[in-house]
């Protein structure tokens, strides 16, 4: 299992649910999750580079378990720092109460140019981005792989047209929890656009794992969602 949607570290918002890296690893172990793509709460709630430095300290302690999703801002200094990290993935926090910038190319275009040029998997949560802005980025940066986190179970009437039109869009399963929704999705779309996400440490991985485990889908599809597709996406990054 490879979890595409997880955060580590102290949180000023989610106090008793947040987990420092050692406890986070214990939780992964409890649920049989081998790897997680993680960002740091300090990046989301305070400062991108502060969070990146915290990740850089944590990750070497647990070799092979945590893959960093670095945070970035739409400025040349942030892009220079990103280039030094040589990330396979970034997680961007556009929200007004987070890093407060627009997802549109007129604002974050230079950042997206860099991410696209290096095929860096770009994570963004649905709560942070309007559908029209997402469509605009997918349209303008057609080789940029975008992983939409937490689209929610009510999103199909937005999600399907975007998936149809833009082959560079993927999404995670943590909130895709309508009745037999994952199963119906795979029947219609196959398994290559959907990746397993738990939303740890806020949510119990038991929920998303059960949805995947009980879906009546072919085993190769289950394996692709469980981690195969995410590993493929991360391996494409130009290092």
């Amino acid at each position: 299992m490879f979890d595409a949607n997880a955060r580590v570290g102290h949180s000023g918002v989610h106090g008793e649910l947040a987990l420092e890296a050692p406890d986070f690893i214990s939780e992964l172990d409890r649920f049989g999750i081998q790897q997680a793509l993680v960002s740091h709460f300090a990046a989301e709630e305070y400062d991108a580079e502060e969070g990146n430095q915290a990740l850089a300290r944590d990750i070497p302690e647990f070799p092979g378990r945590l893959t960093p999703a670095w945070s970035a801002l739409p400025d040349s200094n942030s892009i220079r720092l990103l280039a030094a990290h040589r990330p396979a993935a970034v997680r961007l926090f556009f929200g007004v109460h987070k890093h407060n910038f627009s997802f549109e190319p007129w604002c974050a275009g230079e950042l997206f140019e860099y991410l696209q040029a290096n095929l860096i998997l770009t994570l963004v949560a649905r709560d942070d981005v309007e559908w029209n802005s997402l469509a605009s980025v997918l349209e303008n940066f057609p080789r940029l792989p975008v992983l939409l986190l937490e689209p929610g179970y009510r999103a199909d009437r937005y999600l399907f047209p975007l998936l149809e039109r833009y082959s560079n869009l993927y999404f995670d399963s943590s909130t895709y929890v309508a009745h037999r929704q994952l199963e119906a999705f795979v029947e219609r779309w196959g398994a290559d656009r959907l990746v397993f996400g738990s939303r740890l440490p806020l949510y119990s991985p038991g929920a998303a794992l059960a949805v995947l485990a009980t879906a009546r889908i072919p085993e190769p599809a289950r394996l692709a969602i469980a981690g195969g597709t995410l590993r493929k996406l991360l391996s494409r990054t130009i290092q």
Binding site: D156, Q181, A210, V211
Partner: protein, 254 residues
């Protein structure tokens, strides 16, 4: 993954919903999923009634109860508007179950659960020891969990299920706060949010006897609730209470 014991599920629906596509929602398809997960009994409320038309919706429930009496129990869904209609519905469908199962959806019916139009329903529930499933949502003006405290303390014979237990992390705290002061209240764990440790917290604060398995099928995916319960750090005995015995006892089917 399936439940090791047959589940009594306190929160299900019948029908489709306006805001996203419904999948595999017909009763026969639902029974296939119930068999897959080992859900023996599902108590259903009409989604049509929750959104638009109680008399038609409750009629649809009656038809399903007739076809599959072993697998489904039926809530009578009532709307406080127009005043008086709710009581007529309760009397019309009194045959669904004894004690009655009543569903209130103050959020969709846009009327506060403690407003005067609901009082005849609460009186009826009190007189009949009804099981009243109330949709709740964190701090909502019509159905915030904290609004249920005074109702539960006034109508002590009604058994009140806090639907979704307030949903969010904060909603759960509100639901637990109410449940600590009103022994006739119970937390239904169905919901779209699956906060880590919240089941353990609820069991430690209230006891497992006050927690009920709910799926919200075919609105939400039933394996979400199942996965949460089976992987929670509580005893097997507590899991058995939540998955089966508590709701069965409320139904007087033990």
């Amino acid at each position: 993954m399936k439940s090791p014991i047959p589940i009594f599920d306190c929160h299900g629906h019948l029908g489709i919903h306006p805001d996203f596509p419904a999948y595999k929602y017909r009763p026969e398809e639902m029974i296939e999923v119930m068999d897959l997960l080992n859900i023996e009994v599902l108590a259903i409320t009409s989604t049509l009634a929750c959104y638009n038309d109680c008399p038609r919706g409750n009629t649809e429930v009656a038809e399903v109860l007739k076809r599959y009496p072993q697998r489904f129990r039926g809530y009578i869904t009532v709307n406080p508007n127009p005043p008086g209609e709710a009581l007529a519905e309760l009397e019309r469908w009194a045959g669904f179950h004894a004690p009655p199962l009543i569903k209130l959806h103050p959020e969709l019916h846009k009327y506060p659960l403690d407003g005067p139009h609901y009082r005849p329903v609460w009186d009826y529930a009190n007189q009949t020891r009804a099981i009243v499933l109330v949709h709740t949502w964190d701090s909502d003006l019509n159905c915030g969990p904290l609004q249920l405290g005074p109702m539960a303390r006034e109508f002590t014979q009604a058994r009140i299920l806090l639907g979704h237990a307030g949903v969010t992390w904060r909603g759960y705290q509100q639901a637990m706060q109410v449940a600590e002061t009103a022994p006739n209240t119970f937390l239904d764990i169905s919901g779209s949010q699956s906060h880590r440790t919240v089941i353990e917290l609820a069991v430690s604060r209230l006891g497992a006897e006050r927690i009920l398995f709910g799926s919200d099928m075919p609105y939400l995916e039933a394996s979400v609730s199942l996965g949460r319960v089976l992987t929670s750090r509580i005893s097997d005995q507590d899991k058995e209470l939540i998955l089966r015995e508590n709701f069965r006892a409320l139904l007087d089917e033990k």
